[in-house]
Symmetry: C2
Subunit: 730 residues, 2 copies
């Protein structure tokens, strides 16, 4: 009781200390109104709702196409309606594979049949739902029946194959076994297939995701020896969403690709397994001992192979169209109904998904409920709010992608910004997104109290960044992929954010049968304080975007961030050049061979192509011009502008992010239109900024790099023109 | 056959390509003679002798005081005599504890009694010698019988205790368990006792020294689950050698300390164990999960404790004086009999010691045999050669230390340099020592062929340094401690070298029952090619020092190295200052507390004392003056000097290293006299260069740091004066 009082007191002190003098995009007068609105909004948020709703939504498994998934969608719709929203369900018909046959066996030297089954644990009844639980598999693995020698490829990412090459080890015709992590999982079978492997096994190593991290479930939060991470392996860096309808909505009658022509289904069969199942396979390998950094936490010596371990992998799926139900709830804006502020979180899960996605979903719902209450009291938003609950995110961002593709033209006209959330935990604010929104998010971060420490979530984030050796300044991370913001920002060029708390809720439940309500209550955000903080943060951002006099896009921080990306690429190019020069000198002097142990496998490295001096000046010059325009733009005095001026100003401002896209998209993956942010072609979720230029440089495609520099400089030139037009309106 | 021919051919080509035009310290005429001598010397080296002698010496365990150790000493003496040396045995009477009681048990929560026994393995009869094998223990642990809760302290080194302190965990009254590695083992009980622990267990973690490194014995070279590393834990950084006779020889009638007053016996009982025995103890710990970098390779979650694991450790030793037999073999010099060039390797082992020390010992013997052959053919050395086989190195460099202490006055007058070897393997030259000898060792390195690659061992070393990201230039590492050079360089100020090959012979046999001839033949230097290379390298160095017109000390490389050390300390001081400033700012802003997870143990850090600006100019100025003197010195033309001049010049040159010592020694450990090199007080074997200044800075003892700067600058001034006197003689 005493503690609660103290918390209350410190919250009050916090609020009064942090009453901001001006809010970005608001006149002084409206700043005051908005502050009162946000305080009212915050006061309506109830943790108990989040708790109650999680118990409901995570009671049964609810992946796309399940009865319980549909029930959840209908229930969500009903909730939104009850809060005053115009809520509908938009359904798409999407390909979804359900596993029929999953067989993995070690044939020799010692036979072993993989169990492929996580065990129920004491104290968590949800893990004992037997056949109702989705079997562990990787969605969009192709069918297959292969037998071959095994090769251990560490994380199965490009630099691992470089090391294999140095060791003279080829995976052609083999089955590879790769550890989870190091990249998004879909990269592993993609790269393995490119290298000629015929099958791929992915396992969670206990050093990365098991007893090496902490006590395992149910004693602790981490992955026990039977847990398996499910997950999609579709080639999302090429395009996400329904594999049969690239670039357009998977409506009932849409034209569909033949499944065998679908480019984003894997080229080889792939299956995820537990570390209990991985150990006999890895222990049966011989050949070179794996490099030190490859070795994991199993009590064995990690060898690479190939063989003598020989494995048989057989996979067959039921490839069916299933309905994906997106819930779309609208609250019409009073002043600018055709300017939409969008919020979204997915509702489908791999199994129960208490953390992923329900913890984020219930925060979104509580936020929407509180906004609904405000509206009922007359506080209507100036712009239209659209709250979305996406289906089929887990198999490949399918629900949101199909919806965005289906409504692309309208969205590109009307959407101010999209704010995404997903699984949420305890700890620090993680905020990524368009850097034109960084200043605004920083202001909101300063206005929201951290539930554990009383200071603002921004201050706490600063503290943790500093303690970890980073900077004090608030920064958005750049968006790659991994959740439903992808179609909005990468494909439609809509300014986007992704928000969540974490850092103090580590566990091994991700995409397993252990992501349950009891696990969440013990190890994540037990009292839903951070769920409320998330609703508070995302809600304030939504309300500021909805009510701002001038949309709170700020381009000075955008400019310094993007300039930083260019500097990175230039520095990286210089480093590559120095490194190649040194490498070639060492090859010329035969140093690699002289240093090599003659008793260990070694392939003499060849000389590398010299790194040319790239002409980055087109980008430097465009950024220099942009700096001048942005400086002029930043001197706007909102108060002096008429309502008509504001309307046309905002109509242009909200389109600025669109100008950062190009219709032809990125090389070899035209679905990705954004020229500043993209998921890496060989990282999956991991972002590549200035992706056209950066990936060409990284792939040493110098011709393409120079072309992409020109292309990007044109994009920046258009962006400059767009901002100049806005400046001219003032 | 064809292969042998190629090897022979490439060796011939190598020799002709590498015929050097001048050898440091030799007139052009004598250069030619010396080259011929070295070629003749090399041609006499036979790998088969090394193989045969290893089989003999490593047939039975032979730690100090054993019958087989004495047999080996007598046999070595006989060998030297047969090669024409005047060989004698000099015996000291030294305290050596033999384990009578070794008991370690987990009392609760689940009782477990440690086995403390390594198993014999198939294919290695030596591991099956049962009670003849020395039980695993740490020599110079005190007796003790303690029961307490257990705490896991990672490597048990200073930064680990800093982390424990941050976590609010105290080891007072507890028994600590520490991993081997991270420091010399003796540091672990020393520091644990300083922190209030009452017992110490040391184990080999499989990640560092077991299956995590590679296949375990007998399948591979690495430590199996039962292997235990023996080793001394006497406080060698205070003084090495007999614990009862600090600073003087442990002759039969020497005055001895009472054992209870011996400062270098540990303050708490300490026992080394295997990872099989460690696992139940570690698994029984709870409390905070160990930081990520602390976790090892056992299939458990590493917790720190304290408790609930409670252990009982009981140790009792038979504390006896035993005879340590040093073999000293002399070959009198023709021209300068009172200038001694010394070579040494120890002959005692913990068990069989095929690698440590026999592989080095047999190389030394083959070198001495070849030199003996040359002498018989009339090629007598100009200076006196002294070959030494030390006893009792393993328990604490005892044999060599007592001998040096006993003969200190004569040695300081007569010894030109001491060249040490110890266990030897396959791979690259590792050469450490006085940097006045660096240029000479580099020249020898360029003259010796690498057995596997045909190029010089210097070129191969360069290649591996470059591949590992280092520099191409040949450099000696600085000597800390860990073998018999310590009393020579650290105590008597005699220029020293330590030589060996390695890098391609990793294994887990060190100080275990698995360091046997079969293990050596399979995993170390199977055909003794690197044993011969070691004899060749050390022999050429010995012969150059013995025959040089002007002793090959070169001070320009010494100067740049020592200047580098000063720069390091200055940079380190600046970094500490910046780091403390940042830390204090973060404390002031409460950032550590804001960043901390309230559900995890956390102690709010205090502000730290600001790092003052130290006045390093006395050292900078002395080094600047030295640079001028050394530059003048380097312009000597040997050919122009008379024989008398050369004699007096050399008499001064050989004393130069002595001038780098100070009679009062280092603070709190006056036995260590050298002012440029010392083993670290809290690293053990690891070197600290410019130790008086560096350790004061590291310990933030600013007053002492400034005093040590003055003291060191006086040493450098004396050194400058000494070199100026030499220059004046020219």
């Amino acid at each position: 009781m005493k503690h609660q009082l103290l918390t209350l007191l410190s919250a009050l002190i916090f609020c009064s200390l942090n009453a901001q003098e001006s809010i970005l995009g608001f006149t002084p007068e409206n700043t005051k109104k908005q502050q009162q609105l946000e305080v009212a909004f915050e006061s309506k948020l109830k943790a108990s709702n989040l708790d109650k709703w999680m118990q409901r939504m995570a009671a049964e498994p609810h992946w796309v196409g399940t009865a319980y998934g549909e029930k959840n969608a209908n229930w969500i719709q009903k909730q939104f309606k009850s809060w005053g929203y115009d809520a509908k369900i938009e359904t798409y018909h999407v390909l979804f594979p359900y596993p029929k046959i999953r067989l993995l066996e070690l044939k020799s030297p010692t036979p072993y049949k993989a169990k492929l089954k996580a065990v129920p644990v004491a104290g968590d009844e949800f893990t004992a739902q037997g056949d109702a639980l989705l079997p562990s598999y990787n969605a969009f693995s192709r069918d297959g029946d292969v037998t071959a020698e095994l090769v251990f490829v560490n994380y199965g990412i490009p630099r691992d194959y470089e090391i294999l090459e140095k060791l003279g080890i080829d995976v052609k015709g083999k089955i590879v076994i790769a550890k989870y992590q190091g990249s998004w999982r879909g990269i592993k079978p993609k790269l393995a297939a490119e290298k000629g492997a015929i099958g791929c096994i992915i396992y969670s190593d206990p050093a990365d995701d098991g007893y090496g991290r902490g006590d395992v479930y149910p004693k602790g939060a981490f992955k026990n020896k039977t847990g398996v991470q499910r997950g999609s392996v579709m080639d999302m860096p090429t395009y996400p969403g329904d594999v049969l309808t690239p670039g357009y909505g998977a409506t009932k009658d849409a034209k569909r690709l033949d499944r065998k022509d679908a480019p984003t289904i894997t080229k080889i069969p792939v299956l995820p397994i537990s570390y209990e199942d991985a150990q006999p396979l890895l222990a049966a390998l011989d050949g070179a001992v794996a490099p030190r950094s490859w070795r994991g936490g199993l009590p064995i010596t990690y060898h690479i192979g190939p063989g003598p371990a020989k494995v048989h992998l057989k996979l067959e799926f039921d490839w069916k169209l299933v309905p994906a139900h997106n819930v779309i709830a609208t609250m019409k804006g009073t002043d600018f109904p055709d300017q939409w502020v969008m919020r979204g979180n997915h509702h489908d899960a791999w199994v129960h998904g208490a953390n992923d996605p329900v913890s984020g979903m219930v925060a979104l719902m509580e936020e929407a409920r509180a906004v609904g209450e405000l509206v009922k009291k007359g506080n209507k938003p100036k712009r239209t709010l659209v709250y979305c609950a996406w289906d089929a995110e887990e198999p490949g961002l399918i629900g949101s992608t199909e919806w965005v593709e289906d409504h692309k033209a309208e969205l590109q006209q009307k959407v101010v910004a999209y704010i995404n959330t997903d699984g949420n935990g305890r700890g620090f604010l993680g905020a990524g997104g368009s850097h034109s929104l960084q200043a605004m998010v920083g202001q909101v971060g300063a206005a929201v109290a951290d539930p554990q420490k009383g200071v603002s979530i921004k201050e706490r984030k600063s503290a943790v960044d500093m303690v970890r050796g980073g900077n004090e300044a608030f920064e958005l991370y750049a968006l790659g992929s991994g959740s439903d913001y992808t179609p909005f920002i990468q494909h439609a060029g809509i300014a986007s954010l992704n928000l969540g708390f974490g850092g103090e809720n580590a566990g091994g439940e991700y995409h397993t049968i252990y992501d349950t309500y009891p696990h969440y209550k013990r190890f994540k955000d037990p009292d839903f304080a951070y769920g409320v903080a998330l609703a508070n943060t995302a809600g304030r951002i939504t309300l500021r975007l909805a009510n701002a006099d001038v949309l709170p896009f700020e381009f000075r921080q955008w400019h310094s961030t993007v300039s930083g990306y260019l500097t990175e690429i230039m520095t990286e190019t210089d480093k590559m050049r120095t490194s190649v020069e040194k490498h070639n000198m060492m090859v010329a002097k035969n140093m690699f061979e002289l240093a090599a142990d003659p008793k260990k496998p070694f392939l003499k490295p060849a000389k590398k192509e010299a790194v040319p001096y790239m002409d980055f000046t087109p980008l430097q010059n465009e950024l220099a011009k942009l700096k001048i325009t942005i400086s002029a733009l930043s001197k706007i005095e909102i108060s002096t502008l008429s309502k008509e001026r504001l309307l046309s100003l905002n109509s242009r401002l909200m389109l600025a992010e669109r100008v950062l896209t190009s219709e032809e998209g990125l090389p070899r993956r035209s679905w990705y239109k954004h020229q500043i942010y993209a998921p890496g072609f060989y990282t999956g979720y991991g972002v590549k900024t200035l992706p056209g230029v950066r990936e060409a440089v990284e792939e040493k495609n110098w011709k393409e790099a120079q072309d992409q520099i020109i292309k990007l400089s044109k994009t920046l030139k258009n962006f400059n023109k767009h901002l100049q037009e806005i400046a001219a309106m003032l």
